[in-house]
Symmetry: C2
Subunit: 345 residues, 2 copies
DNA sequence: ATGGGAAATGAAAGCGCTTGCATTGCTTCG
DNA sequence: CGAAGCAATGCAAGCGCTTTCATTTCCCAT
């Protein structure tokens, strides 16, 4: 155990100690089966003795591979991304990759910068959120031949990048049917900003389409777009409820907004679900902790993170820029915030 | 704009196009003031024209600096770490560094592995959580001369690594005084596992010490250690309340545990704070969303993340392994879950 | 035994950048 | 007007690893 000495030992040290060439040591570490067991043993012993750990920068430079995956996400503060990214990172670790992380704080302009940065740092692959993205970025990725995978969204065939996610519009449509089935005919919607967020857009679209299916036009619908956050959700809810013909059900684009709305309802003395129903999207932990527990759409974040890691690593190792997109299924979780319409029509 | 072409252009391409040596280009990019303005301009023009971006692996290898900071945290799923890490990452980005992240899933044995991994990947500095750590790791860090900063904990002078955080014991002691002031004399504690978690340990110690101050021995105290999570918190609460002389106040090691306890209380038909008081630690968002809102200790996670990034980068650029620790102050947030003791003594 | 072919190993050329030292070109002053 | 001094630049040697290609070794069929 001469490890942890002054200067970290390098490949050449191991080679010298074990009496082989650096090439053989390298092969021992990277392609063990290309080396005869006796040699391998000898080398591994030297490695242990020296406490040798390869220098990743050198390796990256020589092999043009960093064993690093970059992720550009809006924020980690959000439980939704945090959970998925945690699973992503765990699986990545299992596969021998490390996660390089950058966030955009929901600023579209920052995303391109972060992507270029992570690319310059040699990320072998990139995890991106949602499809909304300029052609310039797409061209950059393609030109550099960097595999990229989109998560939290599904690729219906029209998008440029492969994706793993779920059918945002479909899931919301299904929930809308539940809402309609309970007699609601005036629907309020609290959505995240849709301009640079295809997920938010699709969720609203799912509601619109379902309403149209039963002959309900935009008169039945009242949509508010707002920032992300509990307070923003609450404010939007108040606004919605102070309209003259206020909605009997308020569907929210995500659980955070929904919980904010719930809190506002409590403060306003509006009973949920007796006076008004509220629904969410995501099924983060808080949905079960509020009172009454939130009816929402369960999204398999953990599974998505895991699969995303596997897919991305596969793209990297097989040098593929494309891959069949996978759609995960969501389920509606009926808890207590969705009830029959008060019928005060 | 010949950028984004087939092969990413390299330093030599820029040198050729601008008619200078690679050394000058390098200096232009890294130490602009060591190059005469006319040359600089010429080079920068070539850089723009080629869409040149430096290869970080090569740079890292040559300069022995990666502009990368590693963080080893228990998990990102936890809102507590997520917020602090988000702030840390933002500030890091501002300073030109990128975050390499690894998590241990609260497994002590994994931490060392992750630290070595991040070190091998050339992290210029490391952010670690809490002081609990083997000497082997400490020696490793010191031998490799890698600056490391501990967050979420305070260094009272006895710890090996500089720290930024708060006085876990002191904060909890203060809260305990509030509890005692309300007449509570039988205190239950729900703590995270203390074996490998100095923060949890100190929080419990803070309670113990304060009780001792007023002459209350261990008979007044009933401590349960449990896993992290809402359900675990709930289960621990049930266990505590089913004791013969059940506590009139339950102090929890963190908000997640406290909210779990709160939910369990509701399910058991125990009224908070009439029948029993509950307190948390951290003041994560959920504390304001539950009903009744949770009395807890506010911790400046965002500020801590920011400062941590600044301190660590300073350590890196000044090549210091040490630095004065900073203590952030916490505040008690009295909301609704702490009330007077029912006095059924 | 022995030649042939596959498997194992070694030698050495980079990967793209930084940086110590040598060189060039100015300015400045005696 | 020339030498000294200094700023700007260039040269070239690495940084620690991977990988191609050549060489050696080994095994087995003959």
């Amino acid at each position: 155990m001469t490890g942890d000495t002054r200067r970290p030992s390098k490949l050449a040290d191991v080679a010298r100690l074990s009496g082989v060439s650096t090439a053989t040591v390298s092969r021992c570490l990277n392609t063990p089966d290309r080396v005869v067991p006796a040699t391998r043993e000898k080398v591994l012993k030297a490695v242990a003795e020296l406490g040798y750990a390869p220098n990743f920068s050198a390796r990256a430079l020589a092999a043009r591979q960093t064993f690093t995956i970059g992720a550009v996400i809006p924020t980690m503060e959000n439980a939704i991304f945090a959970r998925g990214i945690q699973a992503f990172q765990e699986e990545l670790g299992r596969l021998g990759y490390t996660l390089l992380i950058a966030s955009t704080s929901y600023q579209e302009s920052l995303e391109e910068e972060q992507i270029r940065n992570l690319a310059a740092r040699g990320s072998d692959g990139l995890l991106l959120i949602g499809h909304h993205r300029s052609n310039r970025v797409l061209d950059f990725l393609q030109g550099r031949e960097i595999p990229a995978l989109v998560a939290w969204a599904h690729n219906d065939g029209t998008a440029a990048l492969p994706a793993i996610g779920f059918d945002n519009a479909g899931a919301m449509a299904e929930l809308t049917r539940e809402v309609l089935a309970r007699g609601h005919r005036r629907i309020g919607v609290i959505s995240a900003q849709t301009a640079a967020n295809d997920r938010a857009r699709l969720r609203v679209a799912g509601i619109r389409a379902t309403l149209a299916d039963v002959g309900l036009g935009s008169a039945a619908l009242s949509v508010i777009e707002t920032q992300y956050g509990f307070d923003a959700g609450g404010a939007a809810f108040s606004a919605l409820m102070s309209q003259e013909a206020s909605p009997t059900a308020v569907m929210c684009g995500n659980d955070v907004l929904a919980v904010g709305a719930l809190r506002a309802a409590r403060e306003l003395g509006i009973s949920v679900p007796n006076d008004v129903s509220i629904t969410g999207f995501d099924d983060i932990e808080i949905a079960t902790l509020v009172d009454p527990p939130l009816t929402t759409i369960h999204v398999p974040h953990g599974a998505m993170g895991h699969r995303a890691a596997q897919m991305l690593v596969q793209m990297v190792t097989e040098k593929r820029l494309n891959m069949p997109s996978v759609e995960l299924s969501t389920t509606i979780v009926l808890r207590a915030t969705l009830g029959p319409s008060p019928g005060n029509d």
